[in-house]
């Protein structure tokens, strides 16, 4: 996900990792799940472009295909990367929230 890290929480790679955090899913399942929790509807090309990079980086693993639909799951490395990414986002959220709080206190 190194080349997509600049897009933060809207990065398709991160959205896929979050979707797979609750268990294996195939492409259509990921698209629906991602739209449900993020409000972002990924296109199939965007999904598979990100999936290919994640698989190449060893962050997701393909499972046996089920009627041409192949599910994917998080690899151990993918789980670690997801935890790191979420930790970074959480720190950003905390810093942003603290600064907004300070800013509002100063305005009053």
């Amino acid at each position: 996900m190194a080349d997509d890290s600049g897009r933060g929480w809207r990065d398709p790679g991160l959205l896929i990792l979050i979707s797979l955090a609750s268990g294996p899913r195939h492409g259509f399942g990921m698209l629906e799940d991602i739209e449900r929790f993020s409000g972002r509807r990924l296109g199939p090309g965007t999904l598979y472009g990100a999936l290919e990079r994640l698989e190449r980086d060893g962050l997701v693993e393909p499972l046996e295909a089920d009627d041409r639909r192949r599910p994917y799951r998080l690899s151990d490395q993918g789980s670690r990367v997801l935890d790191e990414q979420l930790g970074g986002l959480q720190r950003l959220t905390e810093v942003a929230a603290t600064r907004r709080h300070q800013s509002r206190a100063t305005e009053r």
Binding site: H26, G27, F28, L31, G43, P44, G45, T46, L47, Y48, G49, E52, A65, D67, R68, R69, R70
Partner: protein, 177 residues
Amino acid sequence: MRALVRFFPPTWRARYEEEFTALLADLPPSPSLVLDVLRAAARANVDVITNAPGGPAMGFVSAPSRRASGLGVAGLIISLPTLIFVLANMLQYGLGIQGPADVIDPLVPGPPIGWLVLMLPLIGFVTAAVPVVGVTIARGETGLRSQIVVHMRPVNLFAGAITGGLAAFVVAHLIAG
């Protein structure tokens, strides 16, 4: 929708075509879907070019050749009559040195020979500059592999500058006149 998969490189299709086609069949067709797939196909093709095993599938190779030198010299020779014609006129009418244009101008009558002389720098430029770059494209196991081979030698640069400059001068003169 299935036809869109053809835009992806062979290696990508070998790995993902079946499941990707199944996913496309589950989605309602729309212009934004087509655009999304085409954009992904373009990116996959760029990835194949830049991440090919054994190095990038697109590369520049410098291979100066004697043929390129010969073409550079040929381009200069082809442009020589026009160069002499232009220099003679510049000396006489630009610097006030009497004689050169009086000698040369009668040798260059009106059209079509006059036009041909004015066209010579363009022919010289094409001869000297264009053949120095070669492109080879081949379809390999990982997709298209292309190589840009530059045969240029210093003489080609020199000839290209002289003939190109001369052609530009003549064209500008014709437009102004």
